[in-house]
Amino acid sequence: MAATAPHRRAGRSPLRSAGPALGRAGLLAPGLILLVALAFLPLVAIVISGFLNDRSQFTAANFAHVLTSGIYLKLLGRTLAVAFLTTAVAIALAWPAALALARHTSPGSRTVILGLVIIPYITSQLLLIYGFLSLIQAGGPVSFVLSHLHLVDAHASILYTPWANILMLIYENLPAAILIMYSASESIDASVLEAARTLGARPWYVFLRVVWPLSSAMVVVNFTLNFVQTVGAFAEPAILGGPNGQMLGIAIQAQLSTGASQGFAVALSLVLLVASLVVVGAVALLVSWMRRAQAGGTPRRIVTPATEV
């Protein structure tokens, strides 16, 4: 039997031997078609248009303008900082909630709470923004309560300030952050936590030495998904952020709508994309380094007597 197998393989027709490759192509095709048609080709077209001026001549002037302009670099820095802050705060808030949900709630109430967490996630973004606006505007419920407690003036509001934008972005990031951290928390074996505790580890030590190493990969996933979405925020700063809450997304939109150079808007978008990828990569590397450092560094190579001369 063993001797006949290679002979049978050798005798396969070219069509039959192409079967597995065609099968793989068939499985990959739907995803690849979508990826190529809706992501790769548009991205190529966008990159090319970023290198064109208004007379369709090839030039790097658009990128030079972005990278040498203090205005847009300042706006880029502010945008990255706001996105980083709001993503980090959302994860910090979501993590304890996710741990509590995974460890300390009954299955019935967990389903209800997860359902409530998902509602804002599937609600129209504009509806959420305008709902938040109605909540915090002067004369709105928050202002009404605080002014009746004599804590603020009746017309005081954080609306049209950078803080309104930051709060909204944290709020928008929370559902995804909770869901991802819930998944991470649920995958940690309860007996591991119990073992750490019975060995006398304090809660903070359990978190640092057990929970963090087992969840850090999901923290990176969480950061990546929320940061990338937040960094391109346009509606939130435009509607809530006021004159001092500008982000780069607004500048890109304004650039496109005013009829100034389209290529420059593309250059702004691509610089934002690359800067975002750098931040995400840096965070992933940092978390990976922390994990390795916590584990005592990379395992030492076993030095054999033969190499130890």
Binding site: A18, I33, I71, S157, I250
Partner: protein, 368 residues
């Protein structure tokens, strides 16, 4: 001779090429190409490139137009004037009629995207205010490419709770007494000419270096930089915005919807103005139908019905007869004030370099 490994690689490469080819086919199939203009029932269809919710797509318009011509309407919505010009170029006749404003129509003419209009075939041409129909921006080499439809201004709005009498100067926007109560359009093509008018500069050719501190003071005084009428309406209804600059039609709608303390005025320095024009695509396959559309859109029958509904926030018609047929209440509401036409600093075409310098300065002020 190929190893099994290289055959596998060949398979993968072939699969990737097949996927790319399929994707290219999908993309080409999705393009806005010129149809035969006939629906599945064989009826005529006119494709209109226009802003969403801007009169042309009112439900009764389609009914009326079908009654007049038997044709259906299809709308391609735009999100900016530049977007309209780009779509006209890409559609290759897929859009029959379009609504470029006076700032952008020149681009469409220069690129050969617009049909030269025979004004003798336009039933309402003679009734358009001469200030509008005589504009050089809708012409090239003496030929006409657009018929003015509506006009408006971006002037001063104020709450009569804040002012016992109407402010007469743009200076109130720079007065620190009103700081934190002001809403400004977040659009360099409005803020820069407005600041230039206040500073006594030519709104078409402002000196951006000397204008920057003026823009900075305007931004510092502002509570809100808005990009849609909805944002402005919310700020007005909460009492946050009591003064600012706004489009005449947008603020008309906000006033009509219940903001009775809000008033609109064109200050002594003037205001930024705009004119929207209907034009026909150079590659349309429905030329007669396109002329029918232009006639209907510029007729008093359409314009007055639109203007008489306060909920629609219609702008002022460019057709003099349509304006004269309106009640004085309606004329005031839609800011149809022919006496002020001469005071408008129209948003005119500018080279991209000039617009970029406006944009850069406004961004710098906002980022500061």
């Amino acid at each position: 001779m190929h190893s099994p490994l290289s055959r596998g690689r060949r398979g993968k490469v072939a699969a990737v090429f097949a996927v790319a080819a399929a994707a290219a086919l999908i993309l080409s199939g999705c393009s806005l190409g010129p149809g035969d203009g006939n629906g599945s029932s064989g009826d005529k269809t006119l494709t209109v490139g226009v802003w969403k919710g801007y009169g042309a797509d009112l439900p009764w318009v389609a009914t009326e137009f079908k009654k007049k011509t038997g044709a259906h309407l299809k709308f391609v919505y735009i999100d900016s004037e530049q977007n309209l010009i780009d779509l006209l170029g890409q559609s290759n006749g897929g859009i029959d009629v379009a609504l470029p404003n006076i700032q952008y129509i020149g681009q469409g003419i220069d690129k050969g995207l617009l049909h030269e209009l025979d004004t003798s075939k336009l039933k309402n041409w003679k009734d358009i205010y001469p200030d509008f129909s005589g504009r050089p921006e809708i012409r090239k080499d003496g030929k006409v490419y657009g018929i003015p439809w509506t006009y408006g201004s971006t002037g001063l709005f104020y709450s009569d709770k804040l002012f016992s009498s109407a402010p007469t100067s743009l200076g109130v926007l720079w007065d620190s007494a009103y700081a934190g109560k002001i809403a400004i359009k977040d659009d360099a093509t409005d803020t820069v000419p407005t600041a230039a008018l206040y500073a006594g500069q030519d709104p078409q050719k402002p000196d951006m270096t000397t204008l920057k501190p003026t823009l900075q003071k305007l931004k510092d005084n502002s509570k809100l930089l808005y990009s849609s009428n909805d944002e402005l309406a919310k700020a007005i209804s909460s009492g946050t915005a009591q003064l600012g600059i706004a489009n005449s039609d947008g603020i008309g709608g906000i006033i009509a919807s219940g903001a009775s303390d809000i008033k609109y005025t064109i200050p002594k320095e003037g205001a930024v103005g705009w004119i929207d024009n209907w034009a026909i695509s150079a590659k349309t396959k429905h030329l007669d139908l396109a002329y029918d559309w232009l006639d209907y859109m510029t007729s008093p029958a359409f314009l007055d019905e639109w203007a008489n509904n306060p909920d629609e926030a219609a702008p002022a018609p460019a057709n003099q007869k349509a304006v004269e047929a309106l009640s004085s209440e309606a004329q005031t509401r839609i800011q149809a004030n022919p006496d002020k036409i001469g005071e408008l600093a129209l948003q005119l075409p500018h080279p991209a370099k000039v617009l970029q310098s406006w944009q850069d300065t406004w961004q710098e002020v906002k980022a500061g």
